[in-house]
């Protein structure tokens, strides 16, 4: 069983949602980001998404774009992302690690080589924002061959006609992007997200994690009542931008405790 499947099924057995945390690799630099990354499981992160910086992050808002540009300015690259995962695995063998980014740096690295190198470094899953089901076939066989889950995004525009196309090739979990928009901007209502999650469940058995626009313990706890996982990203990135890794980890701890109690 993959690390992702194992973690998600364990949490299901405990009747609680996963806390999925996003941070950008190499922001503000590799060493500082490594310290934060290594501290995330202790603060309560169940699954980690590590952002791979790209110059033109079209689905991201100003916070994550600025973060990507800082990361690149400090020398961030595909190579340094993989190094960070490798270093993380020296301290943690159990927390699933998902790389999230855009296709061009991976294409440039070489798709087959990237999947192999990522698996060797200890990567469990990939989220590639601009690789929809229509274009994924050039990467999917290589991900599968290396036991890497490919996680697809479902969105408010994914209706019953579209969802079968999305879940057909999905593994690991389905990432529900709860707003039609970019990261760190709008926030969806719990009712809308609840309906969307129920709709997606009619199409797949995979766990469903919800993200985009979740900034507080209260919001996270509300969603954790019915979602299999809750993703927080921009709020962590914002705090790291202020150079405050201790506050960022404290926030993760706070949200984690909210999620832990959500179904009690």
């Amino acid at each position: 069983m993959s690390r992702l499947a194992k973690r998600l099924s364990e949490l299901k057995a405990q009747n609680r949602a996963a806390l999925v945390t996003y941070m950008m690799a190499c922001d503000p630099n590799q060493a500082t980001a490594q310290t934060v990354l290594n501290g995330l499981p202790g603060a309560g992160a169940d699954i980690i998404e590590l952002g791979m910086p790209f110059t033109d992050p079209m689905a991201d808002g100003p916070a994550i774009q600025a973060s990507a540009l800082r990361a690149l300015a400090s020398g961030g690259s595909v190579k340094s992302c993989l190094e960070m995962v490798k270093a993380f695995r020296k301290t943690d063998q159990n927390t699933p690690m998902v790389l999230m980014g855009y296709f061009n740096p991976i294409y440039s690295w070489g798709v087959e080589k990237f999947c192999k190198d990522a698996a060797e470094a200890g990567v469990d899953g990939l989220i590639i924002v601009d690789l929809p089901p229509e274009e994924v076939d050039e990467l999917l066989p290589h991900a599968k061959a290396n036991d890497i889950d490919f996680i697809f995004l479902a969105t408010p525009t994914s209706d019953d006609a579209r969802l079968p196309t999305i879940v057909e090739k999905a593994s690991g979990f389905v990432y529900y992007v709860s707003i039609a928009g970019i990261t760190g901007t709008k926030t969806a209502t719990t009712t809308d997200v609840g309906e969307a999650v129920a709709r997606i469940r009619r199409h797949t058995e995979l766990p469903i994690c919800v993200g985009f626009g979740i900034r507080s313990r209260e919001q996270a706890a509300e969603l954790a009542r019915f979602a299999d996982g809750v993703v927080i990203g921009s709020v962590i990135v914002d705090m790291l931008a202020k150079g405050d890794s201790i506050v960022a980890l404290a926030l993760v701890r706070d949200i984690a405790s909210g999620i832990k109690d959500a179904r009690k």
Binding site: D56, T157, V177
Partner: protein, 404 residues
């Protein structure tokens, strides 16, 4: 993908020209992209749509525009017969309006009330604002703040036409960044909004749709050359940023082996300086803005800023069909520098009394290089894609004439 014997049958049903093109967009946009494709396919096969499109091109845009024999340039360059396809005489002053007329009709069929677009030189922004005024639709134009500064007259035109011009400050604040922000707007406003892409790039079906609306250029050249010379032209030359004026002129001739076709990219300060916008000459294949195509990028797949004196060519990518035509060898792609384009800008202005856009001046510059070695009966057609009024401040600054 395409039949072996034709260069005109692409893209395939998934929007690929060979390995290029495709639909590399965030999932939020996929249903919308698919609905644009359906709306366009329906429109293409609807005679009423074609009639309305042709009628607006004739009565509103002012087509057909002339294929003009430039006798003084011909004499000065001392070789091939030089013809200029006068897209600069279109309403709004460039070829961009052809595509805007077509897409605004598609947007109306889809029931969209709000139009967004990116612009570099401002020509596409002006053309979009124009058709929105004509159709009574809301219009938001994303434009890099660098470009707003160097194309001020077009910014004022867009505002007068009722558009909101949103300055883009991210990255180098030019066309690439404007396209990023337009895509972000579209993701956030999928229900109400239509993204009117201005060039033969972006996710399928845009490269094919924009090309189809621009092929009126090549179709007219073909008919006009037949009328004036009784035969096909020998050489076609057009400038390339994203490549819509070039694709529009080239496409009807791709299966005519006797016609030599040349696309001219912007070499900026020179390819060797790294400060240029020549994706085919100085880039390699990658994925950006919804399609796979040649891109300016570093070794790690990060996009590199382009440079050109011409805001309309200042883009690190190129339409995917051009990438495919480049690799197949059917079209030859070359590049000319800022200085060469500036020189040709002045030559054309002084000898023909036609002020060309800096974009089109790149095509003129390459034509000047090859014309002298061609026989006197060789018919060379240059796409005069736009007029240069918008560029007078840039040119004045570069020639030390002070600003206006």
């Amino acid at each position: 993908m395409s039949k072996q014997n034709s260069f005109r049958s692409g893209p395939d049903e998934r929007g690929h020209f060979g390995i290029f093109g495709g639909r590399y967009v965030a999932e939020t946009l996929m249903p919308l992209i698919l609905s644009v494709e359906k709306a366009y396919n329906d429109a293409k096969n609807d005679p009423a749509f074609q009639t309305e499109f042709r009628s607006l091109l004739r009565h509103y845009v002012g087509r057909p525009n002339p294929l003009y024999f430039a006798s003084r340039l011909t004499e000065a360059w001392g070789g091939a017969k030089i013809y200029l396809k006068r897209e600069d005489l279109n309403h709004t002053g460039a070829h961009k309006i052809n595509n805007c007329i077509g897409q605004i009709l598609v947007a109306k069929r889809m029931g969209k009330k709000r139009i967004i677009a990116e612009t570099g030189a401002g020509q596409h922004g002006v053309a979009t604002a124009t058709v929105c005024a004509l159709m009574g639709l809301d219009c938001v134009i994303y434009m890099g703040s660098t470009d707003i500064a160097r194309q001020a007259p077009n910014v004022i035109r867009m505002k007068l036409l009722g558009a909101e011009v949103r300055p883009v400050v991210s990255g180098a604040a030019t066309l690439k960044d404007a396209m990023n922000d337009a895509l972000r707007d579209w993701v956030a406003n999928v229900e109400s909004t239509y993204y009117l892409i201005g060039t033969v790039a972006g996710p399928h079906p845009f490269p094919a749709m924009v090309r189809d609306f621009q092929t009126v250029i090549g179709e007219e050249v073909r008919a006009q050359c037949q009328e004036l010379e009784g035969r096909l032209p020998d050489t076609l030359v057009a400038c390339i940023g994203g490549g819509s004026n070039a694709m529009g002129m080239f496409h009807p001739f791709l299966d005519e082996p006797s016609v030599k076709i040349i696309g001219v990219e912007a070499a900026g300060y020179g390819i060797e300086t790294g400060k240029h916008a020549a994706s085919l000459t100085g880039g390699r294949p990658g994925v950006l803005h919804g399609n796979r195509t040649y891109l300016l990028q570093n070794i790690d797949g990060q996009i590199v800023e382009a440079h050109s004196i011409s805001a309309g060519l200042d883009y690190p990518g190129i339409g995917p069909e051009h990438s495919w035509l480049h690799e197949s060898g059917r079209v030859q792609y070359v590049s000319v520098t800022d200085d060469q384009a500036l020189a040709s800008f002045q030559t054309c202005t002084k000898l023909e009394g036609i002020i060309p856009a800096l974009e089109s001046s790149h095509a003129l510059a390459h034509a000047e290089i090859i014309a002298k070695d061609l026989p006197k009966d060789h018919i060379l057609v240059i796409n005069m894609s736009g007029r240069g009024d918008k560029d007078v401040n840039t040119v004045a600054a570069n020639l030390g004439l002070g600003s206006l």
